[in-house]
């Protein structure tokens, strides 16, 4: 039976074709084997992309935004993520995380990481207890001393808590390259499971001392600000990806930045933060496929520096 092709039918067909081409890219999940890293102190495997909550999960009592963030967290878990990092410093982020975990009933998928952030060195357990209540969990997988605030007393208390089985791993954090000298001395002197620091294609100071030291001392490394707080996108996403990006396993700028970070052999996990499901999918795309080799890493850094 012959069908007449009218202008209207043609336009509808054209729109449908366009939509069908868009949908796969919106719905697509990264496929392939997930990149995992080993926590040196235990041998436990950890997916190489985690999720930060700085600025993104502090939405107060805004149910509309809590629902949106819950969808972001669901996408993260669905695509194989486990490590979620927060801090008492981040306003209502812990409460929002607790509500999202309640909604998703997904605490069994979670590797929970938070921080102790108080100048009162005697308040370690009290703050840990408050955070556990907000997250709705019995114990944290990882507790870290935030930005080295009162670190001696907090670290001592956390080590005791680890010995008592109240937390599984212990670490310290810094960001923006602050207090790297103190950070290095603590890494050398204290038994740590994790450190958290800033490292990305532009902020590479950690390559000089901290990352090699982490490898040498068998300390897992969590990388914060892998997108430099979003400024890498603002600066570079108007530029095209280099033609050789796919050879380095990168299909978009998110993968470009994250795979640069993840391909350093000392890095265990990067924790980008986002408020959008689409961005979460892009981020999780960096956890599959090949990682750039040393030559490609150098080329990536040169390319960005030259833009």
């Amino acid at each position: 039976m012959a069908t007449e092709l009218t202008r209207r039918k043609f336009l509808i067909a054209l729109a449908a074709t366009g939509l069908s081409l868009r949908i796969p890219s919106l719905m697509a999940a990264p496929v392939g084997e997930t990149i995992t890293r080993t926590i040196p102190s235990s041998g436990e495997k950890l997916p190489a992309i985690g999720m930060g909550t700085w600025r993104t999960f502090n939405v107060g009592g805004d149910q509309h935004l809590i629902d949106q963030r819950t969808e972001v967290l669901k996408t993260f878990f669905d695509l194989g993520g486990t490590l979620v990092d927060s801090s008492p410093m981040y306003g209502s982020a812990a409460e929002v995380m607790g509500e999202a975990l309640d909604t998703l009933n997904a605490r069994d998928k979670l590797f929970s990481a938070t921080k102790i952030w108080t100048g009162d060195g005697g308040a370690t357990r009290e703050q840990d207890r408050a955070s556990r209540r907000k997250w709705g969990i019995e114990r944290f997988d990882l507790q870290q001393v935030h930005n080295l605030v009162a670190w001696q007393s907090h670290l001592e208390a956390l080590q005791q808590m680890k010995a008592d089985g109240e937390v599984r791993y212990v670490g310290i954090t810094t960001s923006h390259g602050r207090r790297n000298g103190d950070f290095e001395r603590i890494m050398e002197a204290e038994p740590l499971d994790f450190v958290q620091l800033t490292y990305n294609v532009l902020d590479r100071e950690a390559e000089e001392r901290l990352l090699p030291l982490a490898r040498e001392r068998g300390i897992a490394v969590i990388v914060n600000r892998p997108f430099q707080g979003g400024s890498l996108f603002r600066r570079f996403q108007s530029h095209p990806l280099p033609s050789w990006a796919s050879e380095a396993g990168c299909g978009n700028w998110a993968e470009f930045f994250l795979k640069f970070t993840l391909s350093h052999p000392a890095v265990t996990c990067a924790i980008p933060a986002t408020t959008k499901v689409e961005h979460m999918k892009e981020n999780m795309g960096a956890m599959v496929g090949k990682l750039p080799d040393d030559q490609q890493r150098a080329r990536m850094a040169d390319y960005v520096a030259g833009l």
Partner: protein
Amino acid sequence: MDTNWLSYSLSDFLMFGPEVFLRLFVRINQDIWPWQVIAVIMVVAIGALLVRGDVLARRGILLLVAAAWLWSGAGFLIEYYGPINTPATWFGWAFVLQGALLTVVALVWRWDTVAGQSGAARWSAGIGWVVIMGLSPLLTVAQSGSWHSVALFAVTPSVTALGAVPCMLVLPRRIRWLFLLLPLVWGLFSVATLWTLGTRVLVVVPATTLALVVLALLFSPRRAQNRG
């Protein structure tokens, strides 16, 4: 131990983005609907009382401004803004305190003299005040692109502070400064917050508040007329 404070920027202390901040206005407007009409009536009433200008009108102005401090402090700042930004809670309590103190002053203050302003000046003040209170709420609309985010006097803190400062001119300078401290500190805090958030359009309101605070501190009636 080196704390490297100089390496910190304002953005390091801001734990939320512009989306969450602008949603505060949408949420409070949704939650209090249709009581925004009270805020609009307050604006018109203050404008009318500024035109009238006698002692009774002054008491009325101060009571309405006091109510605006109380409403915006206990509502917007403590209930909505505080959960995402702790200093907002502290400001909320300061707004409440300011409202309570202003209520007392409005009820007990004895005006020995009042400025002898002309009718034209009082009309200009009243109409000008209402126009500014009508236009400044639209800046959040311009910033967010949504009418639901309109920032009304008495409901939201920055427009309340902006509107309150000129009203303090009804007080003698010897106590006026006391009620200009909070708008001054709030203005500085808001300018820093909004600039860091990148919501530059909204900076106009607290920046204007700061300028008005300076003018209000300097302003002295040209002549006073004893109404003994």
